[in-house]
């Protein structure tokens, strides 16, 4: 853990879906890094390519999707990094990485567990796939894992089926399965979206505690900025398959540079503030990735768009520091103009 190389470095990733209606550029040149022991949150509206980015890391993109460009450098130890895009998605090396080195937790915990087998069966299976343990040892480890994620009476729960547990319990089981083989990176793909609010908070707390305990890195995908504020070290804002802004959590929340980040923050409802006023929203919808606008993908919805510039040429990639960058023409020439075009009203 002494070296400074990031655990995961995605560089220029492009994952496109070749459908009959045309090519959908779901992920179109995403670059981000996950440092060791940190939590990186990927935020954006539905359909902006967050989940596809996450799945690309583990080679889990469904047909007709394909990674067509880019590198995903994975460096768990001191050795040379592995480019995950070059691995055969059905190969043995990738299989060992999945669940062993990089684990994933999904959006719908109930549907992510097979109803035909007990949760113990699925948990023990994962343990034995990645660790050289016998049946008894694996079972003991499974009980220990369930206890670690806060499941009461784990010995009995081992023989329960997913449909006998609540959504929150199922997500705890999924987390136990994900962490069973001590992975270096946990990818959480909207793990709390399908849960009710109190359960959401408990699962977030659990993930934060487990991360502090194990020192693993977390790539957390969400559209909930409240969750981001709570757990993120670094934030990646995505829009239509591209990263529009990257930065530390404080920088993103207190000094957002991209108009889209700004608009996202402006549209968070707040208690007390603006009672009786309409909630600020971002006008329009995310266009379908197959008819992406020319130039900056956000310009049709952007209040600060400059005619003849934003709708013509791709926005420049402006780098402010190692983990801080924005893709917007407003910041060209290094001019620090952040804050001039906030969405008014909602920010106290």
């Amino acid at each position: 853990m002494s070296h400074d190389e990031p655990l995961l470095a995605i560089d220029g990733l492009k994952t496109h879906f070749f459908t009959r209606e045309g090519t959908v550029r779901a992920v179109d040149g995403v670059s981000l890094t996950v440092p060791r022991g940190k939590t990186v949150c990927v935020v954006g509206e539905s359909g902006c390519g967050k989940s596809v980015t996450a799945r690309s890391v583990l080679g889990l993109v469904d047909e007709p999707g394909r990674i067509i460009d880019g590198r995903i450098a994975w460096q768990p130890g001191a050795g040379e990094p592995v480019d995950l895009t070059t691995l055969d998605p059905k190969g043995e090396r990738m299989r060992r990485i999945r669940g062993g080195e990089i684990s994933m937790v999904f959006q719908e915990p109930m549907a992510s567990l097979s109803p035909m087998y007990t949760i113990g069966d699925q948990l023990i299976e994962t343990i034995r796939l990645h660790l050289p343990l016998g049946k008894e040892e694996a079972r003991d480890r499974a009980v220990e894992q369930l206890r670690r994620v806060g499941i009461p009476r784990p010995e009995e729960r081992l023989d329960a089926y997913s449909f006998q547990l609540s959504g929150g319990m199922c997500q705890r089981v999924m987390i136990a399965i994900a962490l069973a083989a001590d992975p270096a990176l946990l990818i959480a793909d909207e793990p709390t979206t399908a849960l009710d609010v109190t359960t959401q908070a408990r699962i977030i707390d659990l993930l934060r505690d487990l991360q502090a305990e194990t020192g693993m890195s977390v790539l957390f995908i969400t559209h909930d900025l409240g969750v981001v504020a709570e757990i993120a070290d670094e934030v990646v804002v995505m829009y239509l398959g591209t990263v529009v802004e990257r930065g530390g959590v404080d920088e993103i929340f207190h000094d957002p540079k991209h108009p889209y980040t700004n608009a996202l923050l402006g549209s968070i409802p707040r208690m007390g503030a603006g009672a009786g006023r309409r909630l600020a929203t971002i006008r329009g919808n995310v266009p379908h990735p197959s008819d992406r606008p020319a130039g900056c993908p956000f310009h049709p919805r952007c209040d600060a768009a400059i005619g003849g510039v934003c709708d013509v040429s791709d926005p420049p990639h402006i780098v402010f520091g190692e983990a801080r960058s924005v893709r917007c023409v407003l910041h060209d020439d290094g001019a620090a103009v952040g804050g001039d075009f906030r969405v008014d009203g909602e920010r106290a």
Partner: protein, 330 residues
């Protein structure tokens, strides 16, 4: 699991009673009773009717008594003595007639079912896992042909080809020299040589249907999140498909076991007639045509009871296969 089986067995009792009532009603349907039919028949043949014998029969079947007493007499005869009554068409006991043919029917059914599964299972699995491959298209084409061509047509075609090209007799389940012979190894061999033709004929449609069902179910299942989740935790691809989605997709195989029994015993009358099979289907057809009501009613009773038993078996299998059924989750 035991409570589940016990509960299912209890549910069977009223069903069986209802079935026996229906079968009894069918026996009673033709005008007049068994004895009037017999008397008129004997008289038309110019024989005298022995009054003492008539009285004996009347006593035995409780004729002339109220319907519910007749029913009780009939059903207790079946339950206590295995006496299904007399077939006046064949002049022997119904139990003996059914006893001759039922084992062959069951043998044909079970082998056809097994053959159907053995063919449908790998092909359906392949078609789903390699969707839109050449093999999938071939299986799909053959499957639709098998579904669309009526079974008796396949039977006729197969008989014609086997006879003209190979000079091979395909009617029945035995060669003429073995038909009335006692059971021996040679007779079993002869049976096996004949059995495959009805098996192929009766199995084609079922196989084709099951291939399509398995393919569609499996394609639905492999897109479910739990498959992605299992892949994401490093389960090898082959094991993944066989362990997770396939088990769910097997559901229609198991839940249709119960229907196969009656379909093959009574539903394939035409094929059995074309192929001259000594099974219960043609027997039922003949009994209905000649109003041999004890025989017809008894076959219907036996087939219905087999259906209920088959359904019970498939329910138990399904409960074993799918914990959601076993644990009463809907």
């Amino acid at each position: 699991m035991l409570t589940f089986i016990a509960r299912r067995c209890l549910f069977m009792v009223p069903t069986l009673v209802a079935i026996s009532l229906v079968a009894f009603a069918i026996i009673q349907l033709p005008p007049g009773d068994y004895l009037t039919t017999m008397v008129s028949r004997l008289e038309s043949e110019g024989q005298s009717v022995d009054q003492a014998m008539l009285d004996g029969l009347r006593e035995r079947y409780g004729l002339g008594q109220p319907l519910h007493e007749q029913y009780l007499k009939w059903i207790s005869g079946i339950l206590l003595h295995g006496d299904f009554g007399q077939s006046f068409e064949y002049g022997t006991s119904v139990a003996g007639l059914i006893g001759d043919r039922l084992p062959l029917s069951i043998l044909l059914t079970v082998t056809t079912l097994l053959a159907t599964w053995i063919m449908a299972f790998p092909v359906g699995l392949y078609s789903a896992v390699r969707q839109y491959s050449a093999g999938d298209y071939i299986a799909t084409t053959l499957g639709f042909l098998g579904l669309a061509i009526p079974n008796f047509m396949i039977a006729l075609g197969l008989m014609y080809v086997m006879h003209t090209v190979f000079g091979y007799s395909v009617g029945g389940l035995f060669s003429p020299e073995f038909r009335d012979a006692a059971w021996s190894l040679a007779k079993v061999g002869d049976l096996m040589a004949h059995l495959w033709i009805p098996m192929v004929v009766l199995g084609t449609a079922g196989t084709a249907g099951l291939i399509r069902i398995l393919r569609a179910n499996l394609l639905d299942e492999v897109r479910k999140p739990y498959v992605m989740a299992a892949r994401a935790r490093g389960v090898p691809e082959r094991r993944l498909v066989l362990k997770y989605p396939l088990r769910v997709a097997m559901n229609p195989f198991v839940s249709t076991v119960g229907w196969v029994l009656p379909a093959l015993i009574s539903g394939e009358v035409i094929v059995a007639s074309v192929l001259n099979l000594p099974t219960t289907g043609p027997l039922l057809l003949g009994a209905l045509q000649s109003q041999d009501m004890y025989l017809a009613g008894s076959i219907i009773l036996v087939v219905s009871v087999l259906t209920v038993i088959g359904t019970l078996l498939s329910d138990i299998l399904l409960a074993w296969l799918d914990p959601r059924v076993r644990l009463g989750y809907r």
